[in-house]
């Protein structure tokens, strides 16, 4: 959750956050376009990351409640 002031201050530079958000969402949605992967889409998934990646994405994980 981003509060109003924070959101306002971020407006000018949200491109990066949006792009990172898109990356994470794409990864979790498996970038599916074809029906044959629906089984994979609905299966349980577990995210595995290293310490450095955690540092990059941890705030995003909080924001997007992944």
């Amino acid at each position: 959750m981003i509060n109003n002031d924070g959101l306002e201050s971020l407006q000018n530079s949200l491109d990066i956050l949006k792009s990172l958000q898109k990356t994470i969402n794409n990864i979790f949605n498996l970038e599916l376009t074809e029906g044959e992967n629906e089984e994979l889409q609905s299966c349980f998934k577990i995210l595995i990351f290293d310490d450095y990646v955690y540092e990059i994405i941890c705030p995003l994980l909080k924001v997007f409640k992944i």
Binding site: N4, D15, L40, D50
Partner: protein, 505 residues
């Protein structure tokens, strides 16, 4: 789950790895595959994978059928850290020290440039922008630009559809500068919230007992007031804290009259609606209030306001005088008992020394005496003195045309670096302000010509000195490291000219 955690088989689960493409991580993934830990593996890397790592990985798996469990392998170029929506790091520590190591090898410098080129490409990819690049002529920025260009070429050759996501015109400017363009600013006690927090505590994206934890997604104080002077930012923190207390104060007020019950009920409902925002705001403010208390104490006991004032004057004037020397001695005479105070004194003396084009013997003696009189370690001063003397000798060689352009490239690395440094700073400053880099960035991003800079067009894949746009989006990378003090001055100057700046520390 952390990749290092020990795990046993988890059936019917897809493991989504999102990791750096290191040999160590590939080894762990290979182990997970061999042990059938998960049914499906989706491998995501935050940077391009080196060919030899892929080759090793698959040559070990190819004789088994385990590789069939790999659903997909993707690369998402997000290998950079964000400290603020405009502030990033490639996480390369002590880069200036590294570049100036006496025994540094050419391949080590090339690896460093390669890492920078890949990091810059990652940011540009994430921003979805292909900028014009401006850099000092006859300097090694070309090596970095080549890496950026190669990465874009590879991307568009392999995935031409991605090109549609990028604008067809260069609407941003990337400026690559050498740290030696301005060293004194790195020692400066700057006055903004961000500079002071970073200078006094350090900043981190992870929970850390000593460093200030940055969360650019919720910390509206940090995002809004990073480059604002500390007193103003401090005032805003106090104001917001009061506001939060007033908003929730009615909950503690047990003396409400019966006729106020309706009003209190309304307030409770309103507070409950916003409880999540209020909680986040409270946490952010509490974090800043705690650091503000420590900051105020440091400012008071280390006389940081006096350091800031004098350094600002010296850096803005770019010269010293008898008056500044006297003020410097006065500050050294304050003799604080704070353990960091001697380091503050060292930084001030070094700024005073570095700002002088050529110190006279008398001035050098005066500076040396200061170190002795106040018991300050002078190793860094001796190093800078040697460096300056080396640069002077290069200048003489340069004047007598003894630098052989076609000779040893490693020698030329230092020769070119020094040649540019010597003719650099003073000739490039066009206005009186503390940061040389801020001044250069401001001129390069406007329609002003700056001598000895070239423009490279990533779309045309060639040098293109005809481009002289009035860029609104500017990305600055300092080879050898940046500082929040420098970012503060760049951001303030470019904001006045309605430009948005991204910066790497």
């Amino acid at each position: 789950m952390n990749i290092r955690e020990v795990r046993s088989r988890v059936p019917d689960v897809m493991a989504i790895y999102l990791v750096a493409p290191t040999e160590e991580n590939f080894k762990i993934i290979e182990n997970d595959l061999n042990q059938n830990i998960f049914d499906n593996f989706y491998l995501n890397f935050i940077d391009k994978v080196d060919d030899y790592i892929f080759q090793n990985f698959f040559s070990n798996l190819i004789n088994t059928n385990r590789y069939q469990r790999i659903y997909r392998i993707s690369v998402h170029p997000i290998d950079f850290l964000m400290f603020h929506p405009k502030l990033f790091t490639l996480n390369i520590e002590n880069s200036y020290q590294f570049l100036n190591l006496p025994g540094i090898q050419e391949n080590e410098i090339n690896n460093y440039y390669n890492k920078i080129g890949k990091g810059l490409y990652n940011l540009l990819y994430t921003l979805k922008t292909i900028p014009v690049i401006k850099y000092r002529q006859n300097w090694f920025a070309e090596n970095i630009i080549k890496v950026v260009q190669d990465n874009f070429n590879y991307l568009f050759d392999k995935f031409p559809e991605i090109k549609e996501e990028f604008p067809r015109k260069n609407n941003a400017l990337l400026i690559i500068l050498d740290r030696d363009t301005d060293i004194p600013i790195m020692l400066h006690h700057a006055g903004s919230l961000g500079s002071m927090v970073n200078d006094l505590f350090g900043i981190s994206r992870k929970k850390n007992d000593k460093k200030f934890e940055i969360d650019p997604h919720v910390d509206y104080i940090w995002n809004t007031y990073l480059t604002t002077d500390y007193p103003t930012a401090h005032g805003k923190i106090s104001e917001d804290l009061k506001g939060i207390i007033e908003k929730t104060d009615f909950l503690n007020n047990s003396n409400s009259k019966s006729e106020d019950i309706e009003k209190v009920s309304e307030q409770i409902n309103s507070t409950l609606d916003n409880i999540r925002d209020i909680t986040i705001r409270q946490t952010v403010l509490k974090n800043h209030a705690n650091s503000a208390e420590k900051l105020s104490n440091e400012i008071k006991t280390r006389f940081l306001d006096k350091f800031y004032d004098l350094e600002f004057t010296i850096l803005s004037n770019r010269k010293s005088s008898k008056e500044t020397y006297k003020k410097l001695v006065d500050i050294l005479g304050l003799k604080s008992t704070n353990t960091n105070y001697k380091n503050d004194c060292l930084r001030l003396i070094l700024i005073y020394y570095l700002i002088q084009n050529k110190a006279s013997n008398e001035e050098l003696n005066n500076i040396e005496n200061l170190f002795n009189e106040y018991g300050i370690n002078k190793n860094s001063f001796e190093y800078l003195k040697q460096k300056k003397s080396f640069e002077e000798s290069m200048k003489k060689d340069n004047n007598s045309n003894s630098i052989n352009e076609g000779g040893n490239s490693f020698f030329n690395y230092f020769a070119n670096k020094s040649k540019n440094l010597i003719k650099g700073v003073s000739s490039l400053m066009s206005s009186e302000q503390p940061s040389t880099v801020a001044d250069i960035v401001n001129n390069l991003s406007s329609k002003k010509n700056v001598n000895s800079f070239s423009s490279y067009n990533l779309l045309k894949k060639s040098i293109d000195d005809n481009i002289n746009n009035n860029f609104e989006q500017v990305i600055v990378f300092m080879v050898g490291g940046g500082s929040l003090a420098e970012f503060e001055y760049i951001d303030q100057l470019l904001m006045q000219n309605h430009k948005n700046v991204y910066y790497f520390i």
